[in-house]
């Protein structure tokens, strides 16, 4: 059949079928459907993600407007790993993590923080940590990295990261300023809006006020 006679939707179905066949070849990988998700205990996230961030996969949290709860979520995930008696790695794309903002000093003992200077460093470090196998959660914070540089990351780099995560028992969540990761299996945009009064509110109330919306594959913006 001539390629030009295949309609776009048929081509897409063909590609998806091919991906499934190729995926079936990697029998040694952990079937993420059988592994329980990483429960965040934040209603907005768990309700949109079948109970939590799926394990052995890459998820993307988009924070496109300022102060919409990205930090609140990120710091809460650190606490969750401590409660679950695991280790968490944070790839800090622009060196913006504030240790003095963490609620409990004990939480920091479970955290491996990498202070990157560039996007390239952040991606390379993420690859190394995804393959390490010791972390139950890998967080990649790229929210303050230069957008043009982020858009130039080739799609296959993200797929490579996804494959590395898939072979491990790790949950990987990347925080981005815009939809950027074609390999992400779960994609949520934070849509909360916090006012100055939030600085006097209890964390539990703030987390309950977090809201998000799911984004599909078609939301990926292709930048040439």
């Amino acid at each position: 059949m001539n390629d030009s006679t295949i309609h776009f939707s048929d081509r897409k179905a063909l590609l998806q079928s091919l991906c499934r066949e190729i995926g079936a070849c990697f029998a040694s990988e952990i079937d993420s459907d059988l592994v329980s998700p990483f429960k965040t205990e934040i209603p907005a996230i768990d309700s949109l993600s079948s109970g939590g961030f799926p394990k052995n996969t890459l998820s993307e949290i988009i924070e496109s407007s300022p102060s919409s709860g990205g930090n609140l979520l990120l710091y809460h995930l650190l606490e969750r790993v401590k409660q679950q008696r695991g280790y968490v790695a944070l790839v800090d794309g622009n060196d913006s993590f504030a240790p003095d903002s963490v609620e409990s000093s004990e939480t920091l003992r479970h955290l491996y923080w990498v202070r990157c200077r560039t996007t390239k460093e952040a991606i390379r470090v993420s690859d190394l940590l995804a393959g390490d196998g010791n972390f139950s959660l890998l967080l990649i914070d790229l929210r303050r990295n230069d957008l043009n540089t982020l858009r130039r990351i080739p799609g296959n780099q993200w797929y490579r990261l996804q494959r590395a995560v898939q072979k491990s028992t790790c949950t990987c969540v990347a925080f981005t300023p815009q939809v950027l990761i074609p390999a992400a299996k779960l994609r949520l945009r934070l849509v909360s809006s916090f006012a100055l009064s939030a600085l006097d509110e209890d964390h539990t109330h703030l987390r309950d006020r977090l809201s998000a919306e799911p984004l599909s594959d078609s939301a990926i913006e292709r930048i040439g």
Binding site: L72, G131, D132, E201, L206
Partner: protein, 485 residues
């Protein structure tokens, strides 16, 4: 119950094990130690050309023109013998170095299932280090030895008579003359010898006949001559070729590590460091010391550490000798605390952390700790604990109020337009806009007792366009410190 492990064509296997690229086709090992050289042993392909032990090399070449002749290496045989003894000791401490490439093991005390599993695992272990072995298991050392000769991999003698009926008389190693005597009587197998009256065999063949009959019938109680290896945590190799790249060096070191980890296992030790001495062509010795973060006796872990450490190593000249020595300590079997949090692969994490540190620079990765000071953004980085003991003392907790801050490092200068002594508008590289709401000011200062006093006036602001920020003023001007979110 006894087991015999035999390395067939031992001198040849010992040599091939040391070669990076194994030759193919007909191969024979040449013994040049005596007045005349002769073929010591040959592989299956060479035997098909009727190349046999004891043959003169010229005659062997006449039979097989493509025959590759490799000189015997006593060093290779010594090294392989040591591996054989060490691996045998993983089955039982009671072993006998019966002959070259042959070891007898006393398996009494082990259950049948554990015996079988261990033997299968042992065959695989030998295979991974490049050796093919045959193992015989039987009720007596003699039967076990003969079973090994018949084995493809592992042969267990269950029905002795059936087993003996398969074996030719020559397998016992008795002289050809005696074999011919038995043949003259119509006796061709060990099963037939067993049926003969003992006294008659003794009367015709003397003591050697009696010994043979006792061995065949399983009545010879032979005590094993116990053999114990003394631990040696070093390996040396003088090369007759030049090593000029890392790959070739790692091939040699991998073999050393495989052998040395056996030594560690058998003597219940673990390695906490390596010393590598490289003899260079210019006669100098280059030394490298490598630390193992957590003592280990696992070959894969130790080799990985070695490989990472040598990645960027350079030498002034080609390498003509390699010496590897381990620093060892007694291995501790420790049960982790029930309440402790521990990494599964702390050594593997150590390597990851080293690679990350090499990428991002020192002091930019690790576990953060807030400093005990009011100075903003004061912290230091420590090495991540790969085992966190539960501390039942109360943790220090901040009040869980407000949104966490995301820092801008270093704080960026901004222009602030004031109205009624409060920020009303911001202009800067990172943030700008009309201020919708403010909280503050909070005046802070500290460290006035030493030479780094500081003071500042902090404000929390909300911009009309959205976003919550912390800004501050010092004697040097206004800055934005971070965003809440």
């Amino acid at each position: 119950m006894y087991a015999v492990i035999q390395i067939p064509v031992f001198p040849l296997q010992a040599l091939l094990r040391q070669m990076r690229k194994r030759p193919k086709g007909p191969i024979a090992v040449l013994d040049e130690s005596g007045e005349q050289s002769y073929i010591l042993t040959a592989n299956k392909v060479a035997r098909q050309f009727e190349v046999t032990e004891g043959m003169h090399p010229a005659r062997a070449l006449a039979r097989c023109a493509h025959l590759q002749l490799i000189p015997r290496s006593e060093a290779a045989e010594k090294s392989t013998t040591r591996i054989l003894h060490l691996l045998a000791q993983t089955l039982s401490p009671r072993i006998e170095a019966t002959d070259s490439g042959l070891v007898t093991i006393d398996l009494r005390g082990a259950t049948e299932q554990s015996r079988q599993e261990k033997l299968e695992s042992l065959v695989e272990r030998f295979r991974t280090i490049g050796l093919f072995v045959r193992i015989g298991i039987a009720g007596t050392p003699d039967h076990a030895l003969w079973a090994a000769y018949l084995a493809k991999w592992i042969k267990r003698v269950r029905w002795v008579d059936t087993f003996l009926n398969q074996l030719p008389v020559a397998v016992t190693g008795i002289s050809q003359e005696v074999v011919e005597i038995f043949a003259g009587w119509g006796i061709h197998t060990l099963g037939a010898i067993k049926k003969l009256p003992r006294e008659e065999v003794g009367a015709r063949l003397g003591k050697s006949g009696l010994d043979l009959w006792d061995a065949v019938s399983g009545q010879r109680s032979r005590l094993l001559k116990p053999y114990k290896t003394e631990p040696q945590f070093f390996r040396k190799l003088e090369l007759d070729y030049r090593v000029e790249n890392l790959e070739a060096l790692l091939f040699i070191l991998k073999r050393f590590i495989d052998e040395l980890t056996l030594e560690l296992r058998v003597s219940h030790q673990a390695a906490f460091g390596f010393k590598i001495y490289l003899k260079l062509e210019n006669k100098r010795i280059q030394e490298t010391h490598i630390e193992v973060p957590i003592p280990s006796s696992r070959a894969s872990t130790l080799f990985r550490i070695l490989e990472t450490a040598l990645e960027n190593m350079q030498t002034q000249d080609a390498i003509v000798g390699v010496h590897l020595r381990l620093d060892t300590a007694e291995a501790r079997a420790r049960q982790s605390d029930l309440f402790a949090v521990a990494m599964e692969d702390a050594v593997g994490f150590g390597e990851t952390a080293d690679r990350i540190a090499a990428l991002v620079g020192p002091d930019r990765s690790g576990s953060p700790r807030a400093n005990n000071t009011w100075r903003p953004d004061a912290f230091h980085i420590e090495k991540l604990d790969t085992e966190i003991q539960t501390d039942f003392e109360p943790e220090s907790h901040k009040p869980s109020i407000g949104l966490p801050l995301e820092r801008i490092r270093p704080p960026r200068p901004i222009r602030v337009f004031m109205q009624d002594e409060q920020p009303a508008a911001i202009e800067g590289e990172v943030i700008q806009g009309i201020v919708k709401q403010v909280n503050g000011p909070w005046r802070l200062s500290s460290d006035w007792w030493d030479n780094k006093p500081w003071s500042r006036e902090e404000w929390d602001i909300e911009l009309e366009a959205g976003g919550l920020y912390r800004i501050f003023r010092t004697s040097k001007g206004w800055f934005v410190e971070g965003m809440y979110g």
